[in-house]
């Protein structure tokens, strides 16, 4: 710990920082809790239970050690309201400014273009609704890909409910945007904003953001890019006017989003007036979490190329082995033009929810786009847009703590688990 400071974590050269383990449900529970419930990680129910292997980084990445350390320090140091005019507030303001500077530097933007929000979802809502509001004189049409995150689609629904229009642009079987249709859509008169996810959070396919941005620029349409799966992992694409991201996707704490609005963009806050964050997002920030998010983003970005080089072949291995060793499986998404850490496949005749529970019993945490695993009982709109099998779907996403041994154990156990479920359901040989 010697020499470590919270400000240093936002500006000093990146180094390895050890961290103590702590925190439990016990700290917030009014009554003593069962020991099995006291840790965040799934606790084996009995002695021979398998070691947990967390493979759902696309939902949330385990807290980066730098984030933990910055969070703990900032809890002591950054509790005051940074908008006030006394010593404690100035200290909080100093932390907030440093967090903003560090984030801007990592993203290659100006500090006054960066706002922190209470979540990635809030940032996405603000990006869409604010981008449309700022350009209402140009028109009321939102153009977006068919595979945007549900936060973007829900904002689009709100826009349509208020009398606006939304135009979803199709993707191909591999999940890549149809640029010809996109080109036609964005040059139609009345388009206020275009939205394109940088890379699919469900199947990993990287989108042609630079080409899409060029087409937008040709028609004077600003482009919003949801970069939740790329910030802190790969190079952030160019050409956008508004960008959002989410800290728990790169190892920061949950509850911090990023909204970046480039200078000169016509963007108008869709929220009631508030002076915080340049008027872009209302309410006091969770400053300790913001500091932890910024510190961990620096660390994740500094390590991103190394992690990508390590995880890309592991995903290649999963793609190849699942296709070869699990019968009747469809591995989806682009095989090469994809995120380094994410792979999705669907197993014919297998119920997605049953498969998730079976994997969980063996210690594997993954997610699914199958309808039975969603609260709406609809299949993932991404799998639907691609026209690929939606049942028996599994998304595996890796992170900095994922080891080759974790992947090997998953690959060793998966064929037997799927075969067992098919035998139980009586669907072998169909």
């Amino acid at each position: 710990m010697t020499g470590w400071t919270v400000l240093g974590s936002l500006s000093a050269p990146i180094g390895e920082i050890p961290t103590p383990g702590r925190d439990s449900v016990a700290a917030v529970s009014p009554t003593p809790v069962n020991q099995d419930m006291a840790t965040a990680a799934p606790t084996p129910a009995h002695q021979d239970a398998p070691t947990p292997v967390y493979l759902d980084a696309a939902t949330a990445v385990p807290l980066h050690p730098v984030a933990r350390q910055a969070l703990l320090a900032a809890l002591d140091d950054g509790w005051a309201d940074p908008a006030r005019l006394y010593t404690q507030a100035r200290r909080a303001r100093q932390l907030l400014d440093a967090a903003r500077e560090a984030t801007a530097e990592t993203l290659g933007v100006r500090a006054d273009e960066v706002s922190f929000t209470p979540s990635g979802t809030t940032a996405a809502h603000a990006a869409v609704l604010g981008g449309l509001a700022g350009r209402r004189r140009a028109g009321a049409t939102l153009v977006h890909s068919a595979i945007e995150h549900s936060a973007v689609l829900h904002a689009a629904e709100r826009h349509v409910a208020g009398g606006g229009t939304a135009h979803a642009v199709a993707v191909d079987r591999l999940g890549r945007l149809d640029l010809t249709v996109w080109a036609e859509a964005v040059r139609t008169p009345g388009v206020a904003l275009a939205a394109l996810i940088a890379a699919s959070h469900e199947v990993g396919t990287v989108q042609p953001v630079a080409a899409a941005a060029e087409l937008c620029a040709g028609s004077g349409v600003p482009l919003y890019v949801d970069a939740a799966q790329v910030v802190g992992r790969t190079a952030v694409p160019q050409g956008w006017s508004v960008l959002t991201a989410s800290a728990h996707k790169w190892g920061g704490p949950p509850g911090v989003g990023l909204l970046v609005v480039r200078k000169g963009t016509r963007w108008e806050s869709p929220w009631p007036a508030d002076e915080r964050e340049s008027g872009r997002t209302p309410g006091v920030l969770n400053l300790p979490a913001v500091v932890a998010a910024a510190a961990s983003l620096r660390a994740a970005a500094a390590d991103a190329a190394t992690q990508a080089a390590r995880l890309t072949p592991l995903v290649d291995r999963i793609r190849a082995r699942v296709a070869a060793e699990v019968p009747d499986v469809e591995v989806v998404g682009h095989p090469t033009d994809r995120l380094p850490h994410l792979v999705t496949f669907s197993c014919l005749y297998v119920d997605g929810e049953v498969l998730l529970h079976a994997l969980d019993r063996r210690g594997f945490a993954v997610s699914s786009g199958s309808s039975c695993t969603s609260s709406t009982l609809r299949p993932s709109h991404v799998l639907e847009a691609m026209g690929v099998l939606s049942h028996g779907n599994v998304r595996v996403s890796l992170h900095r703590e994922t080891t080759e041994a974790d992947v090997e154990r998953f690959l060793a156990e998966l064929p037997g688990i799927v075969a067992g479920l098919r035998a139980e359901a009586g669907v072998v040989g169909l």
Partner: protein, 75 residues
């Protein structure tokens, strides 16, 4: 072109059950015959065409009644 040789009512069933029923029933029909699968689970709209592609069978059309999905046994 004639109508479906057989109708399989999978309404009320959730995926993958309609696809499993289709996979069981189609081989019972002669090559060239059409099976109509009625399925109201929204996932069937994605999964029945996907199954046809994976199995080399011919997906003909979605019909509004049911909704239903017409599949021709092509091999």
């Amino acid at each position: 072109m004639s109508g479906p040789a057989q109708v399989l009512d999978c309404r009320g069933q959730r995926c993958p059950l309609p696809v499993i029923a289709l996979a069981r029933q189609l081989p019972e029909l002669p090559v060239g015959a059409v099976l109509r699968v009625l399925a109201d689970d929204p996932a069937a709209a994605v999964d029945i065409p996907a199954w046809c592609r994976m199995r080399g069978q011919e997906f003909l059309a979605t019909v509004p009644d049911g909704p239903g999905y017409d599949v021709r046994r092509s091999r």
